[in-house]
């Protein structure tokens, strides 16, 4: 397996995540430090954050659902 096969997802471990704890730029730090594709594992209640993550270059989005 090589680096091109790996995508690292940034995630915030508070579930559900309050918006005040969200920092999608941390995903960009991961990208810069590891030089891999990045994604975002989103546990906020809306869809705005995954949209922002894609705009910032996320190749993968994981969206958790809470009933």
């Amino acid at each position: 397996m090589n680096k091109d096969d790996i995508t690292i997802l940034h995630c915030n471990t508070a579930y559900p995540t309050p918006i005040s704890d969200v920092n999608p730029k941390a995903m960009l730090t991961i990208k810069k430090e590891f030089n891999v594709s990045v994604g975002y594992s989103d546990h906020t209640l809306g869809i705005e954050i995954p949209i922002a993550a894609v705009a910032l270059g996320a190749k993968v989005i994981e969206k958790a659902h809470y009933t």
């Binding site: 997802l9 995630c11 993968v60 994981e62």
Partner: protein, 45 residues
């Protein structure tokens, strides 16, 4: 009218039995939970 959306399905297995079941679907991509990144038994297959 049909539209094709280029999105790949993925699922996360949290234990080896679940991973084996997931493998039977021949996924294009595996998501490894962060807690398992040092679990060589999980990663080996």
């Amino acid at each position: 009218m049909q539209k094709n959306i280029n999105i790949i399905f993925l699922s996360t297995a949290f234990d080896i039995d679940s991973l084996n079941m997931l493998s039977s679907f021949n996924p294009k991509i595996y998501k490894i939970p962060s807690g398992e990144i040092n679990n060589f038994q999980y990663l080996a297959p």
